[in-house]
């Protein structure tokens, strides 16, 4: 572990540096992935570009009813404790509060979790369900990328070598929304998801018709993915157990899990069905129970 350490104080300064060094510079936010990659997996880099000193990236801001923006340095614990997030996006709270343990939640950032692009990233399924939009910045300017276009494969994203994730925008959701994130692991903490599922249900005024359904899955494919065929089964329908079961089966059919040390392909496919069913019922109960609170 030998490298030059750059510590910019502003985003423009950081972008200049990233533009100059490109792939030679690894970005450091919370360090909970990069430090482990360097120490345990032998990752070498000439330059570490620490974003920690850039105060302007450390925020969670309500956008006047249009949604909420997370700065790239917002930690998992800051997001899980934020009153704006707790009020609107309980699924994101559940995901952030299930990342490893408190020490890691206090260091690790949601932005870093996305950029690390693990198929198991806990923050990814809720943000996919929420149709979050990522702002990627470079000295060339900024571009906005919908999260479902961001991931390319394990540890691969559309980020160019001169770009830095600046912020994550979460559009405001309809009032009668219920959502949850369920994570399957062998233990409650310090765990990488065997699978993770985020489901959101939007109801119409009568509580019967599902106006929108969104499902996203982690650890079931090379990237976190939406289960769009499963969603389609529930969208516009009146709720019943058979449809929920059909949806869960469709979600499992859309998954392309591998067998690894955490679980076999077959086990994951079974568990997608089980968790999708549970998450859909929980999301539905929340949507019925309260409009905004989830």
């Amino acid at each position: 572990m030998r490298f030059e350490l750059l510590q910019p104080r502003s985003l423009p300064e950081a972008l200049e540096m990233k533009g100059k060094y490109g792939d030679k510079a690894k970005l450091l936010a919370g360090g909970t992935d990069l430090m482990v990659l360097m120490k345990e997996r032998g990752l070498r880099t000439e330059v570490v570009l620490s974003l920690r000193g850039i105060r302007e990236l450390d925020f969670i801001r309500s956008q006047d009813g249009r949604g909420v923006t997370l700065g790239a340095l917002a930690t998992h614990s800051a997001v899980a404790r934020s009153s704006i997030i707790r009020k609107n996006f309980p699924d994101l709270v559940e995901a952030c509060a299930q990342v490893s343990c408190i020490q890691i939640q206090n260091l690790g950032t949601v932005g870093g979790n996305l950029c690390n692009a693990s198929p198991a990233a806990d923050a990814a399924p809720p943000l996919l369900v929420l149709d979050a939009v990522l702002t990627l910045a470079s000295t060339r300017g900024e571009r906005r990328v919908p999260i479902h276009e961001f991931f390319l494969g394990p540890r691969q994203t559309v980020l160019m070598s001169d770009e830095i994730l600046k912020e994550v925008f979460i559009p405001q959701t309809a009032d009668r929304r219920g959502a949850t994130y369920l994570k399957l692991g062998k233990r409650k903490a310090m765990e990488i998801a065997i699978i993770g599922i985020g489901v959101a249900i939007h109801l119409n005024g009568s509580d019967r018709e599902i106006t929108d359904c969104r499902i996203a899955m982690g650890s079931v494919a090379p990237t976190p993915v939406r289960a769009r065929q499963g969603e389609e089964i529930l969208r516009g329908q009146e709720v019943n157990d058979e449809l929920i079961e059909e949806t869960a089966v469709a979600a499992a059919e859309e998954a392309r899990p591998i067998s690894d040390v955490r679980g076999s392909r077959e086990y994951r496919l079974d568990m997608i069905r089980v968790l999708c069913r549970r998450a859909t019922r929980a999301a539905l109960a929340r949507a019925r129970g309260n409009g905004v609170e989830g």
Partner: protein, 154 residues
């Protein structure tokens, strides 16, 4: 190549010259000789290296020391005040919550952060707060009891 780094640890300011790759854990132990903070896994899995960074528990093995120069760092050595043990430390002694002792400093820092923000934690709160601290003697039960003892006296 070494760079100048200023750290605020337990209320003291330390002016150091260190290589940029060195972690807060290694600098605490090897440069400042505060060896109460332990090195277990060194990759953020065990919690033995837990210190408080601006009041929040973090794994000091995952932090580059040079990146936390504007923060207040509290280690186990800073937990006692004016020669008086913190109520959690007293309770750990009273209830026999220390076995081999290797995880104890990290556990105490996690629990200190908990009771600072939540003076009457439930058992679930305590378990969540300690989830990132592994005790390989598996002596958790007495630690839970000690937290109860301590929070009664807080």
């Amino acid at each position: 190549m070494k760079i100048p780094v200023t750290l605020k640890v337990n209320g003291e300011t330390y002016e150091l010259a260190i290589a940029p790759h060195r972690t807060l854990l290694d600098v605490l132990r090897e440069e400042i000789q505060l060896t109460g903070t332990k090195k277990g896994c060194d990759v953020g899995d065990c919690g033995a290296c837990t210190v408080l960074l601006d009041g929040k528990p973090v794994n000091s093995c995952l932090i580059l020391a040079a990146t936390v120069q504007n923060s207040e760092i509290l280690t186990i050595e800073g937990l006692a005040k004016n020669g008086k043990l913190h109520p959690l430390q007293k309770a750990f002694l009273k209830d026999g919550a220390v076995q081999c002792g290797f995880c104890t400093p990290g556990v105490l820092m996690s629990l200190k952060a908990l009771v600072d923000t939540n003076p009457s934690p439930t058992l679930d709160d305590v378990k969540t707060a300690m989830a990132g601290n592994l005790c390989r003697c598996t002596g958790y039960t007495k630690m839970f009891k000690a937290v109860e003892t301590a929070t009664r006296s807080l």
